[in-house]
Amino acid sequence: MSSPVTAGWGYVAGGYGAIGALVAGYVVSVLRRRRSLTRRLRPTPAEPALDHRPSTATVEEVP
């Protein structure tokens, strides 16, 4: 059976651990979302504008 002193430290560890895990988990998820969104919002310089002109390519006739 644990002494009152040891039991006290168990509750302290539980309280600090729970808050630490919640906050750290949330912070990591926010930073990951931020990084992902920053990447998605970055313009791609080589991306050409969509071209809807009629194609000049020849099409082989199907017998």
Binding site: G8, W9, A18
Partner: protein, 252 residues
């Protein structure tokens, strides 16, 4: 014919917001280390609570920041509803602050439950303060769910702002419940009208530091979350612009 699409926003530059966020992040890290050192090593155990008194260096500060977060959410919602100050940024700030508030509210409930088990012998009891804090948590989770609903963004933002203001009414009731009703939960430890604090020395210093550290940590998380909220809105807007431009080009 060539499809003309408005240019996408440029990559966000290093701004004042970034620098403030960096400073707050470093201050939070240093503060957390200092608080752990003072709370777990320097501060002595209490006569009545023994080692568990160390929970007083996290639980009250986290609970206070919960109220601050929901207060920021309510103020930002008010600024959004006010026609002169209406801007999507207020809506983003309200959403970000509510989410961080829900996180701190969850931390309050969990740490309070652990402390309650030691002092009262039960993990949970339907005490006025505990029940109201749980209600606050559930109501703001509902608010976050409301933010995820579809439809017109302006109508949704107005709906959410009104909901946030109504939800905030629970905060003063929750805070003053220990004074208004007979509850198991103890009253204020430091701010007592006409009386000196119940703790002193290193215990008082550590507890006061905990309020400062969690306030800085909250400000840092809020800034980062606000950025994410703004970027998500931009992505949604630009997605619409592309979709409309493509549909127009198809119709030509």
């Amino acid at each position: 014919m060539t499809l003309t699409v408005p240019a996408l926003s440029k990559h966000p530059r290093r701004s004042l917001l970034d620098r403030a966020s960096f400073v707050l992040g470093v201050a939070s890290a240093v503060g957390v280390v200092a608080l752990l050192f003072l709370g777990l090593v320097v501060s002595p155990p209490a006569i009545l609570y023994g080692e568990t008194v160390r929970l007083i260096y996290v639980h009250p500060a986290v609970a206070t920041i919960t109220f601050v977060a929901f207060g920021v959410c309510a103020l930002a919602s008010l600024a959004y509803l006010w026609p002169r100050t209406r801007s999507p940024r207020w809506d983003h700030l309200a959403g970000a602050s509510a989410e961080v508030g829900v996180l701190f509210c969850a931390a309050t409930l969990v740490s309070g439950s652990i402390w309650g088990r030691y002092t009262w012998g039960v993990w949970w009891t339907w005490d006025a303060l505990l029940t109201l804090t749980l209600m606050l948590f559930v109501v703001f989770v509902g608010y976050l769910a409301l933010r995820r609903t579809g439809g017109d963004p302006v109508a949704r933002a107005k709906r959410c702002a009104v909901t946030a203001l109504l939800a905030f009414l629970l905060v003063p009731i929750d805070h003053y419940s220990t004074s208004w009703w007979n509850t198991l939960h103890q009253g204020n430890t430091v701010l007592r009208v006409g009386k000196s604090p119940l703790i002193e020395g290193w215990q008082l210093a550590t507890m006061l530091l905990s309020f400062l550290v969690f306030a800085v940590l909250f400000a840092w998380i809020l800034l980062r979350r606000f950025e994410v909220e703004s970027m998500e809105a931009r992505l949604e807007d630009e997605g619409y612009v592309w979709a409309i431009a493509e549909r127009r080009a198809e119709g030509r």
